[in-house]
Subunit: 215 residues, 4 copies
């Protein structure tokens, strides 16, 4: 029962640690499988094979297949939020939104499984999807309110913010689907997408310092 940790050290794991380790292996395997082949192909047999454990082991850690699938997106979604937050500076609100938009596409390239997990979740892991959407929506609305307080947005109500957030999320979803794949590989987002988004939101949502518009 020795495991090679990421730091390269061989470690003895106690029972609790081994338990967590096994669950993590299953989780990682599922992420890989769903990310590469989709939820529909993510049979318990396939996941456990990828994880290197027996099929029965799966049910020591998850009540059923769906429970695991529903945990996939919220977990990865939190990773994304962290990732994006780290890449968002302290410039004025419009530029921050551009940074977030850009960081979203960077994350996709960092975690290529994410896009598929996100897109298919709506139908194969509806609970997980809803949770993710709620997470995103809540966090995003808060950001917009703060921008309004700072005077960077005028003339939008809280309820309109929620609609705006869904437009933003929809934009990311459709744009990533259209522009982030080429020949099976995840590519960076083309310039014209960035510029189109930038123009639309800096003019459409934010009040921007004159000299900053369009750059």
């Amino acid at each position: 029962m020795t495991e090679l940790t990421s730091s390269g050290k061989v470690t003895k794991l106690n029972r609790v640690e081994r338990n967590a380790w096994t669950k993590q292996k299953i989780f990682d395997a599922a992420t890989r499988i769903v990310g590469r082949y989709g939820y529909a192909e993510a049979s318990v047999a396939r996941i456990t094979e990828q994880a290197g454990v027996a099929q029965g082991t799966f049910y020591n850690h998850f009540d059923n297949r769906q429970e695991l699938l529903d945990q996939l997106l919220p977990k990865i979604g939190q990773d994304m939020v962290r990732f994006i937050r780290e890449r968002t500076g302290t410039a004025h609100a419009a530029r921050q939104e551009i940074e977030r938009f850009s960081a979203f596409f960077d994350f996709i390239r960092e975690v290529p499984e994410f896009l598929r997990i996100l897109n298919e979740a709506e139908f194969f892991a509806p609970n997980g999807y809803q949770k993710h959407l709620d997470n995103m929506s809540t966090a995003y609305v808060r950001i917009l309110k703060r921008a309004r307080l700072a005077g960077a947005i005028n003339d939008f109500s809280d309820e309109e913010f929620e609609a705006i957030v869904h437009i933003f999320m929809g934009a990311r979803g459709y744009l990533s689907r259209r522009y982030s794949f080429h020949d099976g590989a995840v590519t960076s987002v083309p310039d014209q997408v960035m510029s189109a988004y930038r123009k639309l939101i800096t003019r459409g949502l934010f009040t921007v310092p004159e000299d900053d518009d369009g750059h």
Copy 2:
């Protein structure tokens, strides 16, 4: 082999007509099933049962299940285009876009199957989905180019138009999912969604006559 047509007349059908009629029955059944229960529930057995034909009959008209599923969305998508076009006036471009946006939600209420067929197609009928997206994108970009010619849009390139179109489609997709269902019934879109969208695009994309902004 007599059938009751919609005009109420009992008609004798010849061989070709019967053939087309059978295929249509299968098609309609599939639309109803997928619209109501989703692609995953649309087994050949269920579709043919709903259509009132034998399972084997299915394969006289479609090579396989997938072929039918892939035809569903493009067909209904054309209906939507027609529907929206009929409801778009000749006002200036920004107002027309608002009308299109609004008509989209009207169509959802008119054809409640559409939303499900659209949303799930990406994963269950990828060919059909791609075709639909291409149809929409092409038509939409043409509209935007025309608006630019008419001076209603400045400062957006053709390529940026394609990005904008995907943002628009993403917005419709996510907003409809969020706002068009309440308690199992399809509802009309709330005011704040209309106003948020209007503000965003009239300010963000179009050059609008002064007195028309925000109304």
Copy 3:
């Protein structure tokens, strides 16, 4: 699609007949399997293998495994009723009951599957078991009432009859279990069982012509 019938003739079967024939094959296979190895061993895989059809075929004829199992006992039970009735004469009521008792054990030897199907049904096919019990009970109570009308029974109410019938059925169940098997083979019932039963019921239930008691 030619089948060898029991009469030895090779017959062409039409669709309906083939359908019925397949269902019958499954039914017979189940009877054989359950009779020999018990309900618990009667997996769908085993039954269909014995029947010589694919596993999926099973579900063209039965909604699920339980449905078939629940049909087993009532069907065979009717065979038993017929069998016993044919072996019951027109002597006075007490002798007839002896004949029925005896015929029951004859039937067990004739259809060796019966005993196991009967005994295990209570737990593995409760619906079928209840149905069988109701069938038996109703028929039996009717017999006793007729005997009472004929003056062969005194002093028992209808409700007591029902209790008596359950005693009779219990007696058959436990006695057959104890005495009808030896070394894996079904044997005839020993004399002392017949005589004990005869004494108990001729004295305990029936009013018997003097010279007939105990023979």
Copy 4:
């Protein structure tokens, strides 16, 4: 390792006692589970959970699941014998048999697990069932022999006694199944069952003092 005994005292148990105590906990848990949900639901996981021990612990005390199940009925059967014996007086033999019959149904109400454990044992714990049947049969035949010695029974051989005993046991089994449950609760046995049984056996088996028949 302190345990609260039934007397309310907290006790330190030595190794042997703790061992026995654990085994007893498993045993009691099994009785409760089987009695309430049946053998089929009595998985090792469920039993050990109910007992509050780990699954592995089970195999320190029993070779396998079946071994435990086979011990259930004989143990509880002995409880029943004691229970009935305590409720059997010294009246003449026929009345004693009535008392035993009645006490059997009292026991069912006292120990509601019994009936299920008894009835299902035949198929799920065949060894235990056989052992129980032998126990009962032996004891019962002895009782009948004694009655014969006392002149309360004529004209029945030892071998016939064994048949009679099986009839009695069968009667109890079927009657309890039919009459002891109403709306999920265990109920007392109806009068007509008592009277039918009484008539059948006092007339059919025993020689009864004139004035005692039928009361």
